[in-house]
C-alpha cells in the first residue's frame, strides 16, 4: 500500500508501509506528522495510526494526544521531546488543511465574474503554501478570503447579468409594442 507523509513542509511519498515504519522508527517522521493512504478519509498524525503502533519510537509522546499539545499542555508536564517533535513539522497544528477553493474560483471566473474572480484565485493559491509552511492561521485566513471573493463574484456577476437580461427584455417589449 502506498503511503504519503508530510515532511519539513512538503508532502512526500509514495512509500511502502515498511519504509514509512522505518522512517517513523528512526525519527525522520515524528508522531504528529500527518500521513495518508487512499483508504483513509483524512490526513492523520502517524502516532494515531494503528498500523504504525508497533513502529513507534520509545518515548512518552504517544501517551497524550490532544489536538495542540504544545499549546495545551502546561510547560512542566510537557516533555522536551514533545516540543521538539511538534515544532518543525508542517502538521504542527494537527489540523486538517483548509479548503483552497481553487476549482470554485476557476468556475466563477469561467462564468464571467472576472474582476472579483481574480482575488479569489489569488487567495486560493495561498492556502496550501501557508499550510505546508506550518502557518495554519494564515492558511485559514486565505481560505476564508477565497471563499468570500468566490461568493461575492458569483452574486455580483449574476446580478449584473440579470440587469443586462432585464434591459434586453424591456427593449424587446418596446419593439413589440410599436
Amino acid at each position: 500500500m502506498d503511503w504519503y507523509y508530510a515532511n519539513n513542509g512538503q508532502q512526500a511519498g509514495p512509500v511502502s508501509q515498511e519504509q514509512l515504519g522505518e522512517l517513523y522508527r528512526n525519527g525522520t517522521v515524528k508522531p504528529f506528522d500527518l500521513v495518508w493512504n487512499e483508504t483513509m478519509t483524512e490526513w492523520t498524525p502517524i502516532g494515531k495510526v494503528d498500523a504504525f503502533a508497533s513502529a513507534a519510537p520509545a518515548s512518552p509522546v504517544l501517551e497524550p494526544a490532544p489536538a495542540q499539545p504544545a499549546a495545551a499542555a502546561p510547560e512542566s508536564e510537557s516533555p522536551p521531546v514533545l516540543a521538539a517533535a511538534v515544532a518543525p513539522s508542517p502538521a504542527v497544528s494537527g489540523q486538517a488543511e483548509p479548503p483552497t477553493y481553487l476549482w470554485q474560483s476557476i468556475v466563477v471566473m469561467l462564468l464571467c465574474c472576472l474582476p472579483l474572480g481574480i482575488p479569489a484565485l489569488v487567495f486560493s493559491t495561498k492556502v496550501k503554501p501557508a499550510y505546508l509552511s506550518g502557518d495554519y492561521n494564515a492558511a485559514l485566513e486565505a481560505s476564508k478570503k477565497a471563499k468570500l471573493f468566490c461568493i461575492l463574484a458569483l452574486v455580483i456577476g449574476f446580478v449584473v447579468q440579470a440587469i443586462y437580461i432585464a434591459i434586453n427584455v424591456f427593449v424587446v417589449m418596446g419593439e413589440m409594442s410599436k
Partner: protein
Amino acid sequence: MTAASTGRWVASGAALALCGSLALWLRRVDLAVPPRFLPPCVFHELTGLYCPGCGNTRAAHALLHGDVAGALRQNAFSVIALPFLVYFVWRAWLGWVAPKLRKPLPIPIRQWHIVAVVTLFLLFFVLRNLPFAPFDWLAPDPVTRETVG
C-alpha cells in the same frame, strides 16, 4: 434518513431538474438568430476583450449537439476542464449528501498542481486575445452575434 439529508436530496433533485431544463432549452436555441435573453458577456461588452469564459454558451450549445470539436473551437479551456470540474462538483456534492461515501483524492494535491492550473488558466486568458494564428483559434468563433457568452 434525517430531515436535513432529505432536504439536501430534494434540493439536489431540484437543481438537477433546473439544469436539465436549461440544457434542453439551450439545445433548441438557434444561435444564428440568438434570443435576446441569452446573457452577453459583460466583460466583452465593456472591454472588447475575451474573458476566459467567453464562448461558454456556444461551447455548451455545441456539446449539447454532440459536437466536441465545435465546442473546443469556442472555449478550449472550459471544455477540457469540464470533466475535472464535473468530478470536483461530484465530490463536493457527495461530501454534502453522504460524507461517508467520499474518499480522499487518489493523489494528494500538491503546490505545483495548483501553480500549473492557474498558469494555464491565465495563459489561456492572454493568448486567446492575440489576434493572429494560431492563437485566434482560442478566441470564440463569432458564428453569431458576438456578444453571446
